[in-house]
């Protein structure tokens, strides 16, 4: 015992940080803040450390060269002992980290923790979120596969929309004229040196501020924040109703962090690492690029926005949103902290979450994309061909061969870009079908130049059969009268 304590005191005499650590550990936090709601920040920090450790491990093998990166990832997956697992932990860790940072942020908003005097802590937190997303995007690029290649193309296309500076930014982002070797090495430098360096600095500052200003008190309806009295009230609270951070609060942080790390490892072990998908050869164009999970909402928005709105939204919305987040503590730095008294905040947060969730879900099956092999992969359902005339069957053939199926589904298979056509005859008359096919419109290309009259006739006669047996096809009212009169005339003649 004495030898051990001698060694301990040898270090403490030189480092002289023992008292500071003891004071930090023992600092009083409000009793109600030692809560399960206050564990997300520390869990995000834990995952960040996990990312650093696994990231260094991966960097031992990974080759940041456009020619070799993909092969080195295959080697990591299949050649290096447990390389697949470390890649899995790093990949799942990134998902967990983004999620934890977002949850932490929501909790801070709901608990009014950004209010006086913690404005700077919040602003640094906003930058930590942006940097975390930056890590997620650059990390996706380092997994140098087809998705990474075309994802970079999308990034470049967005940057290229910036007025005046567009070309400059495109070439700076790529490190040259095209996505190539210089692009990957600069993303490597950003992912491995630049952003982590800034992250470590800002996380330290963020933590220091939490210690200096004290953890946010549990919001109580009616306990209003005022700049003039808050700090005094807070110190009074921690003095009269405080508990030491260690051990009263820290055990929950420790417990939750451990649960998160175990979850990351379980995901890595059972679901495995992400990719790499196809080899990054741009001449392989049979690819359907999709971003990683946390950018799916953006992918969906870019498909659903009206074209003329896109550039303004892409370039202005981020500035507005980030500006708003930074200004938030100055716009509402005082007042109620409790979510029970802040309905606008709660509704805004819920709407944002629902919107992002909906966009993400839509992006998972991307109904706006044509199904590139719909025309060759999905046959026309047999019941749509039974008992049909040769002309109608020929129309079904035209329907398939002219790739209509890429955008229109029959019996649920095929593209969802345009409407499903199973009942199209009930809503469009013969003339309307002809017009729609030839002229297009409503987001459908005009097929007039690519179909000859015989093909149009066949196609439309097939489309006219697409209605339920108990519901007749739509008819032009005037045409119906003419037909009736003709039939009546013919009947009279027969008499």
């Amino acid at each position: 015992m004495s030898r051990l304590s001698n060694i301990g005191s040898w270090f403490s005499e030189r480092l002289q940080i023992g008292p500071a650590i003891r004071a930090t550990a023992a600092h009083e936090v409000p009793r109600k803040s030692a809560s399960w709601w206050y564990v997300f920040g520390s869990a995000a920090l834990t995952v960040f450390v996990l990312q650093i450790v696994t990231g260094v491990m991966l960097a031992i093998i990974y080759v940041p060269s456009a020619a070799e990166a993909w092969n080195s990832l295959q080697y990591l997956n299949h050649g290096v002992t447990l390389g697949w697992f470390l890649r899995g932990v790093h990949g799942w860790g990134s998902n967990f980290m983004v999620a934890l940072v977002l949850i932490h942020m929501c909790q801070v908003i709901l608990f009014g923790a950004y209010k006086f005097p913690r404005e700077l802590t919040w602003i640094i937190g906003v930058f930590l979120l942006l940097l975390t997303l930056g890590m997620a995007f650059t990390g996706q690029v380092l997994r140098f596969d087809q998705d990474a290649y075309w994802g970079l193309g999308i990034g470049v296309a967005i940057v290229g929309r910036v007025p005046l500076m567009g070309a400059f930014l495109v070439h700076m982002l790529l490190g040259g004229p095209i996505i190539a070797g210089d692009t990957l090495s600069r993303f490597f430098a950003i992912h491995v040196f630049v952003i982590p360096g800034i992250l470590i600095g800002l996380v330290s500052l963020h933590l220091l501020l939490v210690l200096k200003l004290g953890i946010n008190d549990w919001p109580m309806p009616g306990r209003v924040v005022r700049r003039s009295t808050y700090i005094k009230e807070y110190h009074e609270m921690t003095r009269t109703d405080g508990v030491p951070f260690v051990p009263e609060a820290v055990w929950k942080d420790i417990f939750f962090s451990a649960a998160i790390i175990v979850s990351v490892m379980i995901c890595a072990a059972f679901l495995g690492p992400f990719g790499p998908s196809g080899f990054p050869d741009p001449t392989i164009i049979q690819t359907v690029p999709k971003p990683d999970f946390f950018f799916r909402w953006l992918y969906a928005m870019l498909a659903l926005l009206p074209p003329e709105m896109e550039t303004p939204v892409l370039l202005i919305a981020p500035v507005v949103v980030i500006g708003f987040l930074i200004l938030l503590p100055f716009l509402s730095g005082e007042g109620e902290k409790s979510w029970k008294r802040r309905p606008i905040t709660v509704v805004t947060l819920l709407l944002t979450a629902v919107a992002l969730g909906t966009f993400t879900e839509l992006a998972n099956y991307s109904p706006w994309s044509p199904v590139m092999d719909g025309w060759s992969g999905d046959p026309v359902p047999v019941e749509y061909l039974q008992g049909r005339s040769p002309l109608e069957r020929q129309g079904a053939l035209v329907f398939q061969v002219k790739q209509c199926r890429n955008c229109h589904s029959l019996r649920g298979s095929g593209g969802k870009r345009g409407p499903a056509l199973d009942r199209i005859a009930t809503s469009l008359t013969h003339d309307q079908l002809v017009r729609q096919v030839i002229q297009g419109g409503g987001n459908m290309p005009a097929y007039g130049k690519n179909l000859n009259p015989a093909e149009v006739t066949a196609l439309v006669s097939f489309l006219e059969t697409l209605h339920p047996s108990n519901q007749p096809a739509a008819r032009d009212a005037a045409q119906a009268v003419v037909t009736q009169q003709e039939a009546a005339g013919a009947a009279a003649k027969n008499h």
Partner: protein, 193 residues
Amino acid sequence: MSSQLAKVPETNDKEKRDISRRYLFAKIGLILNGLAVTVLTVPVVGYLLSPIVRGENGRYKSWVSLGELDEFPEGQTRLAKYKNPVSSPWDGDTDHIPCWVRRIQGERFQVFAINCAHLGCPVRWFAQSGLFMCPCHGGVYYRDGSRASGPPPRGLFEYAYKVENGKLLIKAGQIPTLSTTARLQQGKTECQG
């Protein structure tokens, strides 16, 4: 023992104020440091701007061959590939760039960039319906590259081309985007890349 280690000899404030030579050297030292940093900034900024400097005056672009004219039958649209004129040995396959060649008639061509004008995804040609379709956000173009439907703000990017010694050449070298295209050319669909 601990108190001995903890004690750092205090500097004599009076001495510091009185001796102006130290003060002067400290100031000169600071100025020298400032100068050194300023001078160092120039190569660092220049180094970082290399992607811009190297591409000045259209140096990224040059004429590359897509092959013999016979490879492109009249009235058809075919995928062609070329090696980007600006490349490095560690590019792997990323400097192999595809493009769509439409031979209208004789020596009249249209050469389209592979990148959708919306967000740069690779468009695919469907000969039967005469359409280019994009797998990402549903952009569709007609056979002449004009926009048919979907989110693209314009038609497909087009390369400048010429026919020399029975070969089809295009002016290529950089990825086409809305700004790297619009800057240099006058035509609606010409591609700077």
